[in-house]
Symmetry: C2
Subunit: 323 residues, 2 copies
């Protein structure tokens, strides 16, 4: 890859990807408005001569056209990644995920970029009947606005692949963990334990079965699919995850074990942590494995690595006091 | 049903549905901006004391809230229904189908309407591998912006059904024919033959296999699903079509037979009529049939009925000369 643009490139996965692509010898353009992305995550990349930052909202006119010029790949990672609170602001998922993806595709047409990676989600399977869930599972019903907005993005990319001869690599992620992780179960538990290590509340019955993937394994999987499909045309869907799952109570135990605390655990009850929560996520990853990829870290190790990183980076999880 | 709002209620299916619901004793509110809907189609309904017209674009602020007040059902039929030309104006499907559906759902929340019928399409199956294609076919890839935009609408409705306890009836239509038909293969052929009955051009190889359903059969199927699911919660997906198919050359022969002309037929070639065209549409309709519904008209009779109606309604297909 000669030059890549990463939307949301100051975020968790995006900034790790930027570092990786720069190390691999590519030029990298990051688009980010720093609403959830963090300048500190681009600390290393910003020093690199092959790095360029385009600061702004992907929905602002001209931003993407500026950023995409001369790129051969777009990694469209910018998103509203807040699954749980979708119902409070339904417009957010539509704008930040669906409409933004349409803008990205139009800007690709304008600038002649013909390869895109899209960060989709295992949430598009809703509550599947088939486990582990393969990419061609029975046509699912959506259960969250987040999943629906990502499904809409997938549909746009596949239609553009048919209509405008672009190549789309659609990655359906499980939850990603690792360095620069800022959002999700693990940080919620971590914050709560830092605030009060004696007790913690778990949404649902704690038996929800989740899957996680370490961020460097995620990036390796993305680049494996990229190498396989570059310039090939069509839309190519991959589940990205481990073959393991972990129940919520177990992941909490891994965190408390690492922190050396033994809180009293209160469950709010019910098989779902919130409306639209999937009680069971277990993706069939044989398709990406068939390309030669395999994860290096277990879920347990990924959780421990994440906790260790949070311990060393208090600025990420400690609310800032406004001066 | 006490009071129903029909978006796109001056269109082909919408105006037929309005007449039917009024005849069944319901109050009917039609929302239409007459961009493609026609005032003439509301001729009968407009005289009815239980009819109200709200003229305007569904995307305009306040229009839907006005129209939905006091309704128990919304039939969201307004759409950009132009499958073939989606690639020329990619923004149109996004705005008219996806974003408009989001507006409809938000307006339902604002006004407390909790039941919706959505006019989706067999195009969401892209180019399926399974025929006849059931509602839970393998998770498809989108091949048209139209299909993608309708899939996005389906996803929103299902997510709202989970999150906000609405009931969604999602109908995946084949092409609909009958009185007030204004758009699609049959009228394209009809217009061309009226212009020059000696020759006609068919997009593709003419062997594309399509499915059609008569508009009154379509409405009966919708109302069958409505009666089954009202107030039940959840999203319920139904294929609506006949179990027949007809190849494009055969449908042309039915039209020329009805018109008594014998044109030379030129094929542009290729298995698809245009980029994103589905060479084969055959839906499994056993789910809607299991509710007791069956179509009354064959595809052949539906095509003949449509041609007869076009013959009697020149104003629909003859371009108007501007004064």
């Amino acid at each position: 890859m000669r030059r890549a643009c990463i939307t949301g490139g100051a975020g968790f996965i995006g900034s790790n990807l930027a570092d990786r692509l720069l190390a691999d010898g590519s030029e990298v353009v990051v688009v980010d408005d720093f609403r959830t992305g963090r300048r500190a995550f681009l600390g290393d990349a910003a020093e690199h001569p092959h790095f360029r930052l385009v600061e702004g909202d992907v929905l602002s006119p001209g931003i993407l056209e500026d950023a995409f010029a001369g790129c051969d790949w777009v990694f469209h990672l910018q998103a509203n990644a807040d699954v749980r609170h979708g119902l409070e602001r339904p417009r957010l998922d539509l704008e930040q995920n669906t409409i933004a993806t349409s803008k990205v595709l139009e800007a690709m047409r304008q600038t002649g970029v013909s390869n895109i990676v899209f960060s989709s989600t295992g949430s598009v399977y809703g509550e599947p009947e088939l486990f582990p869930t393969p990419e061609d599972a029975p046509f699912p019903l959506q259960t969250s606005l987040y999943g629906a907005s990502k499904l809409a993005g997938e549909g746009l990319i596949a239609a553009y692949a048919t209509g405008f001869a672009i190549t789309g690599v659609i990655c359906r992620f499980v939850s990603i963990l690792g360095e620069r992780y800022t959002h999700g179960h693990v940080i919620d538990f971590y914050r709560s334990l830092k605030d009060d290590p004696r007790e913690i509340t778990v949404l649902g019955d704690g038996k929800q079965e989740k899957s996680y993937l370490y961020v460097q394994d995620c990036i390796e999987a993305i680049l494996t699919a990229v190498a396989r499909h570059e310039g090939q045309g069509g839309a190519h869907v991959y589940n990205l995850g481990t073959d393991e799952t972990v129940i919520v109570d177990e992941s909490l135990a891994l965190i408390t074990g690492r922190l050396g605390c033994t809180p009293a655990v209160r469950h709010t009850g019910g098989v779902r942590g919130w409306t639209g929560d999937s009680p069971l996520i277990r993706l069939d990853t044989s398709k990406i494995r068939s390309l030669g990829w395999a994860p290096k870290l277990t879920i347990g190790l990924a959780i421990e690595k994440t906790v260790d990183w949070l311990e060393a980076n208090e600025h990420v999880w400690r609310p800032q006091v406004q001066p």
